[in-house]
């Protein structure tokens, strides 16, 4: 898989896919998308970079071990249910705040954090599996 064209293109492709995955993650509340599909796109981005430039390059680039990412994601998702405790509503009830930052109204919710957690779990798990499989091919 190390044709010049693919290797030259892969970094741009990876960057684009990473950006797109975040876009998909954030639009996911009312439109198609969300943490799961965003995480899958991000994991594919890692896989493509791994195929073109080798797995060690990916591992250096993402700093953390994929399992760390997955663990952190699960932690965030789990915690996102807990603010409900202080609002006297059941676990995982969505809570919203609408702060205005620099003139833009932001719609922040515990659901968003849940989705970010899901994104990281999927990225960590599928990315980890993909990288391990690619390592075996060498």
């Amino acid at each position: 898989m190390n044709t010049v064209i693919f290797r030259a293109l892969a970094p741009y492709l990876t960057t684009l896919m990473m950006l797109f995955s975040v876009f998909v993650l954030l639009r996911g509340h009312n439109e198609p998308g969300g943490g799961f599909i965003g995480g899958l796109i991000a994991a594919s981005a890692l896989a493509i970079y791994g195929i073109s430039n080798g797995v060690p390059a990916v591992r250096r680039a993402i700093w953390a071990h994929p399992i760390h990412l997955a663990g952190t994601g699960l932690f965030i998702s789990g915690l996102s249910g807990l603010p409900s405790l202080f609002a006297n509503v059941p676990f995982l009830t969505g809570l919203w705040v609408f702060p205005t930052i620099l003139g833009v109204e932001l719609k922040l919710s515990t659901i968003l954090f849940f989705d970010i957690g899901v994104y990281m779990v999927v990225l960590g798990t599928i990315g980890g599996i993909a990288l391990t499989l690619e390592e075996r091919e060498d």
């Binding site: 071990h65 760390h68 997955a70 663990g71 699960l74 249910g81 006297n88 059941p90 969505g94």
Partner: protein, 522 residues
């Protein structure tokens, strides 16, 4: 808070549960979310292995005390209910803890907690690096979730959670025997889970709902639907999970392979989740299914308990003896189920609690035997009474407890089971059960005789490696705690019997369960 204003399309107020939730209500989700979040936290701290036992211990300790508080509340004021994300019950996923749920969760959390103590010494660096504690916490979360959920599909999800963490635990260490055991375990459990899923599919096709309270109502109203098929699928799947004869082959083939703490957890928890699901789904949701298949269940009960006991007598590896004793215990629980009476169910529930405690303690004790004599083989162990009299006494109590002798925890369920099967006129079943528990007593008594009583082997003294001070603390304390509870239940049986009765009544007459789920009425 401001939900309704953000979404302009739908009037969400009709889809939401209005009742405010107190912090105390969170006790019903604590046994699941606590271990789940902390399991993730342990994953994040993958490199700081020395803090993981502390995290696991503190989490499970909190869960244990939370469960005690939950149990007290349920015994006082009935089932506790929480609808996740406020979505109304038939659509949203909800948790509902009644006496049966909380009794099982409480016992399970105690066993997980003492297993953490034990693991402090017995799980080495490799096991920890590959995630023993995250898996342990995840397993506890899955088991508690299965006990607490009020949704059939969610029950399946928790089965998957506990199954996947148990796959992780069973291969930790990566030896040949472990992989061999893991394949059998994984394959047969996946078959059972698939059957369960098919059963859920049929149920949803028939009733269009999977909420347990809702289902109970609709099934009571239904007429002429093929409920027997669905019930049989569920009974088959859960009997396989519970390792009842003739679906038991995965258990003796796999339980002796992993680290002894893992074996203890599995023996204590996994098969009982199957029993719980059987009681909840076949017993409560599909009333009459035990009646319909009584003939089969009686055979299953008799053969499971007899073959389990016989297998225990025929094995020479202590861990295999214990594996077969788990089977024999499952047979005893099926005796309670097969007689189809409130008393029988009460006996089954009480036996499940007893079995969780005793099997965990016995496996942990077997670990100590293996550690001190360097072997699990009955042909070469011995000399432990001389080396550690206190441990020998603890083990002897466990021998009496599992044989159902007074004044230990095995006595009361045995009395109830024998009496209920006599009352039901199933004299043969009573006889089979009594014979099996007699054989089981010989099998486990033989372990005690060989491992503790005997000093010499062919004239030479058996070499013992004494426990270090740290090891004695880490190994003996958890066993002593479990033995204390076992003796406690035996001497002061009232609270446990009372809860088991409440659990049995909850299975037969789920009206309290239903009203707690549907505060707005059916």
């Amino acid at each position: 808070m401001a939900d309704e204003t953000t979404s302009s399309y739908v009037d969400l107020s009709v889809a939401y549960v209005d009742a405010t939730v107190q912090a105390a209500d969170y006790l019903v989700v604590l046994p699941v979310i606590g271990p789940l979040i902390m399991s993730a936290f342990c994953l994040m701290l993958r490199r700081q292995q020395h803090v993981q036992p502390w995290i696991a211990g503190i989490t499970l300790g909190a869960v244990f005390f939370g469960n005690i508080a939950l149990a007290l509340r349920i015994m006082e004021s009935g089932p506790v209910f929480m609808a996740m994300g406020r979505w109304l019950p038939p659509f949203g996923i909800s948790f509902n803890a009644d006496a049966l749920s909380v009794l099982m969760t409480l016992t399970a959390s105690l066993v997980s907690l003492v297993c953490v103590f034990y693991s402090a010494k017995s799980v080495d660096g490799d096991g920890r690096r590959y995630g023993f504690y995250p898996f342990l916490l995840m397993l506890t979360a899955g088991v508690s979730g299965a006990f607490l959920t009020a949704d059939l599909f969610n029950l399946y999800v928790w089965f998957e959670v506990l199954l996947i963490s148990s796959f992780g635990l069973i291969v930790l260490g990566n030896s040949h025997a472990q992989l061999d055991g893991a394949v059998k375990y994984a394959f047969l459990n996946l078959v059972a889970t698939t059957l369960f899923l098919i059963g859920i599919g049929y149920t949803y096709g028939l009733f269009g709902t999977l909420n347990m309270a809702d289902l109970t109502l609709r099934i009571a109203e239904s007429d002429g639907l093929p409920l027997g098929t669905v019930a049989l699928l569920f009974i088959f799947a859960f009997a396989m999970k519970a390792a009842a004869f003739p679906l038991n082959f995965w258990l003796p083939a796999s339980y002796h392979t992993p680290n002894i703490v893992t074996s203890a957890l599995f023996a204590a928890l996994l098969t009982k989740v199957g029993i719980y699901a059987l009681l909840r789904v076949a017993g409560m949701l599909l009333p009459g299914s035990f009646d319909t298949f009584q003939e089969v269940l009686i055979w299953v009960a008799a053969l499971t308990s007899l073959l389990g006991a016989a297998g225990a007598l025929a094995s020479t590896d202590i861990r295999k003896v214990l594996g077969f004793l788990v089977l024999s215990g499952i047979g005893a629980m099926f005796v309670g189920i097969a007689v189809v009476s409130p008393d029988g169910l009460r006996g089954a529930v009480l036996y499940a609690v007893h079995s969780i405690l005793v099997m965990a303690a016995l496996y942990l004790a077997a670990g100590v035997i293996g550690r001190m004599t360097g072997s699990f083989d009955l042909h070469s162990v011995g000399g432990l009474y001389r080396a550690h009299p206190f441990f020998a006494a603890l083990f002897l109590i466990l021998v009496f407890a599992i044989s159902g002798l007074p004044p230990f925890s095995g006595f009361w369920p045995k009395v109830i089971l024998v009496r209920s099967s006599m009352d039901a006129g199933e004299g043969w079943l009573t006889a089979a059960y009594l014979v099996s528990s007699f054989i089981a007593m010989i099998a486990i008594g033989r372990v005690w005789l060989f491992a503790f009583w005997r000093d010499d082997l062919d004239g030479t003294r058996i070499a013992i490696t004494p426990l270090t001070r740290d090891e004695a603390q880490a190994y003996i304390t958890p066993i002593a705690i479990l033995v204390a509870v076992i003796v406690g239940i035996g001497l002061i049986a009232d609270p446990a019997v009372h809860m088991a009765s409440a659990a049995a009544i909850g299975i037969i007459d789920p009206s309290a369960y239903i009203t707690s789920v549907s505060p707005v009425g059916p």
